[in-house]
Symmetry: C2
Subunit: 223 residues, 2 copies
């Protein structure tokens, strides 16, 4: 197993997706918090894109969460987080794109970034128009997940994949700030209970962000 260090911020959904992949593949990883908005020279040397996550694996320095997760899948194939057939793999990647592009723009950036990141970075108060629009959009996204999960055990099909990790990464960060209504859909709640109880999820449930206290149900497996 490689020596792994992840430069991250605890509530970043992109970082959480990588943390889940690493943990599921049992790659021990040191977590190093990166104050990316300070644009330190070391940080920019590690990733000229100036974003987290950045993963150091022995001498490799990796950025872009989708590229990192595909690399982990190819270099450490067991346990697998991707199905075999080209069509099933397509569906996983479509859903990763759905969450990391569409859900991120419509929900995560409107709720989490307004309520948490702005405060941490010192960029003022949440914009209430954005918060309202994020609160509206998450309902539609939960309904879409429910529609998928009525036909499938996991989001992309019969096995747990990167698509579940992408979705759970966003939802867990939003759950930390009480922005997920788990009563909206039983199938979505059951799906989250299943993924939340995996050992890979433990480190995420233990996160504590100074100044922001998670609700009691955040780390509770019977929420």
């Amino acid at each position: 197993m490689p020596v792994a260090k992840l430069y991250h911020v605890p509530l970043s959904p992109f970082c959480r997706k990588v943390r889940l992949s690493l943990a599921e593949k049992k790659i021990d990883c040191e977590l190093i918090e990166e104050r990316y908005w300070e644009m330190g020279a070391d940080f920019l040397r590690r990733n000229p894109a100036a974003k987290v996550p950045v993963l150091k694996l022995d001498d490799l320095v990796l950025s872009e969460s989708a590229a990192i997760c595909e690399y982990l899948e190819e270099a450490f194939p067991e346990p697998s987080l991707m199905p075999r057939s080209a069509e099933a793999r397509y569906e996983v990647r479509r859903l990763v794109g759905w969450f990391d592009d569409k859900f991120h723009n419509e929900v995560t950036s409107k709720l989490l970034y307004e309520r948490v990141n702005k405060k941490i970075i010192g960029k003022g108060f949440p914009d209430s128009g954005n918060v309202k629009s994020g609160a509206r959009a998450i309902k539609y996204h939960l309904d879409y997940m429910a529609w998928l999960l009525e036909h499938r055990r996991w989001l992309a099909g019969d096995v747990m994949t990167l698509a579940d990790f992408a979705a759970a990464a966003h939802l867990s960060s939003l759950d930390y700030i009480s922005d997920v209504d788990w009563n909206r859909s039983d199938v979505v709640k059951d799906w989250y209970a299943k993924i939340k109880s995996r050992p890979a999820f433990r480190s995420i449930l233990a996160d504590q962000i100074p100044g922001f206290r998670p609700p009691a149900h955040y780390a509770d497996l019977d929420f």
Copy 2:
């Protein structure tokens, strides 16, 4: 070969990346312009994310450009647009993410969407602050490309890959509106001349958007 239809808009970099992959793999494809902002019912049925590109391949309906390109690579492996080793594949995907996330947010959305999409969709005039910020950011991105191309024949290494198509998709759309300064870097210009002269690029160079005339050099292989 499958019967292929691509629902697209001509200047969308995500659509152009898929068009380039299809053409390079010699998959004939009917192009159908999609007025996605009208949110037609058929369109939403094809892709609940309400985005282009959407690719119909026989009975499959595919969305999310990265997922589509990976699918094409797996289902039609020749000619290959991905290298073999996990590390080299990582680098391709990192750069695709660089262009489709970072370059898109910092440049394409600030220049192309302000100057073209707003007018087509009827959302008013370009925001000059955005245009200025995009014009500043593209310089930095061209310099980053130059830095890569000083060490490599193609953006991700020694062979042409999806990373080159992602980059060329954004730059060609910006070139259509004269927003690329090709004099900034000789290596970038040489790279673009190489990719522009491929048969796969022809359909892109033939695009005509009513109300927007491309500069004379747009379709010129000796620009």
